[in-house]
Amino acid sequence: MYTPAPLSFPALRGGGLSSAPIGGNGRNRFGERLLGKHVLIVEDEALLALELELAFADEGAEIVGPALSLSHGVMLVESTPQIDCAVLDVDLGGRDVFPIAHALEKRSIPFVFHTAHARASTLSTLFPRSETVVKPARPEDLVIRLARLML
């Protein structure tokens, strides 16, 4: 049931980043729930995407993506059989992430909205089972929220 994930960084495969991230593993007990889980990251800002990718990789998650556009995200959801949870930036270059959110909901995959717009009420009306984290947030917070959703 539990298979220890190799302490490698899928996002940096071939990149050769050493496995000694600052502020590393074991910070919180929620992080363990993400070990080996497939986490979809949708974020149109490259640096944020990379930061999230590394943060989740630190927790031992397998990263799906990151998708930097709506079309890439939709394509990933359609073509990836295993997705356990997701982080969704809401505004993707002026387009809403909602098609991806609907697709995830249909598959009962929990997800967290990660947005600079404080529209939590709107989002929770549209997607009652979703959670919202307002940007700028610490990646650790996102990890905790996502881990909680995996309960």
């Binding site: 940096l12 990149g15 050769g16 000694a20 490259a46 640096l47 944020l48 890439h72």
Partner: protein, 436 residues
Amino acid sequence: MQDQPSTGRRPALRIRSRAPVLVAIGATLLALGLAIGQTIVSQRAARVEGRASSDALLAMHEVLEATLDAETGQRGYLLTHKIAYLEPYADARRRLDASLKKLRTILHATPGDQDDRTLERLSALIGAKVAELDRTIALTRAGRNAEALALVDRDVGKREMDTIRIEARRLMDQKRDSRLTSVARINRLEANLLPLIGVLGLMTLGLVVLAMVTEQRRAAAAAEAEQAEALRAANERVNLLARELNHRVKNLFSVILSIVSLSARGNAPRDVMIEDIRARIRALALAHSATQGGDGNEAIDLRTTIAATLEPYALNNGERVSIAGPDVAVPVRMVTPIGLIVHELATNAAKYGAFSAEGGKVRVSWELVPGPQGGALVRLAWREEGGPPPAVPAGTTEASGFGTRMIALAVSQLGGRLERHWPAAGAIAHFEFPVS
């Protein structure tokens, strides 16, 4: 967070309805017009009546005169037997017939029982008088003058004439009275007419003033409404810009936080790490220096963005950097990834490439070509020269791995492609991305 836009429009200047006033003025004007028309009609009728009375008076006078003339002619003939007296007599008889006919016509035109009876009596009396005159003249002609004179002597003719005078005078008095009445009526109507016309003039003046005031107020209200609309539009624009700026600032904060935490990864010494963070944040600031406080569709000049990002490496009027390409406007959301890509390429050049050697140079050039799905594609080339032979940064160091990964993601964010080559002459990067 979002300022509530002051949408409360100021209530436009209300124009009170003037309909009741207008209806009242219209009704008064109508009544005035009717009164004036009525007065003029009455005046005209009174004038006609007065003229008829005058005509009747004149005709009566003529009748009386002709009767007297006829009598004078008869007397002359009876006394002198001169046939010459019969001429004025015949003339008077003709005039008498004519004037009597005229009188009858006039009196019939203005019907009245009194007039008719008077006229009948007068006609009868005059008929009798004329018959008496004719008879005496006929007797004289037949040589029976004495008989004729005897007839005259019997005073029948005188009595008849007196009666005619009385009747004629009564009719003439009556007609004179009626003419005076008519004139008095005309004067009275005329006196009424003047104030009516005065009131009409005042009402018209009032109407004109009312119309002017109403028009002025309407124009003022329209101007105020226009001003309010302009103000509202300006407010809306300011709010939109504020929201956009707010969004942009938050986004930049997120990016800066990412730069810090990403740069903090790895085992670089503290001072190197801090220098990396500073350089990246500075590159970001420089790339954004060209952006204004525009809306989300603000377009930024590509050359300005690239030149600003490379500015720390340019040295002495940019002798180490050459930038050439057509004018291209890129949306503001592309500035961060473009700035990051250019910065990472420049950092690489500074560590291992052209910027690391004296006399090294980087040439950045681009062209605008039609995109595969419509739109346009920027095809950019980064060429280093004059530096040491480049080593392929095959992910052997953390720094290069991180940089490579970040460039790949930034290129992906732009929806573009990037290829890098490391020939001996200097590193080359081919980079293309769509712009709409």
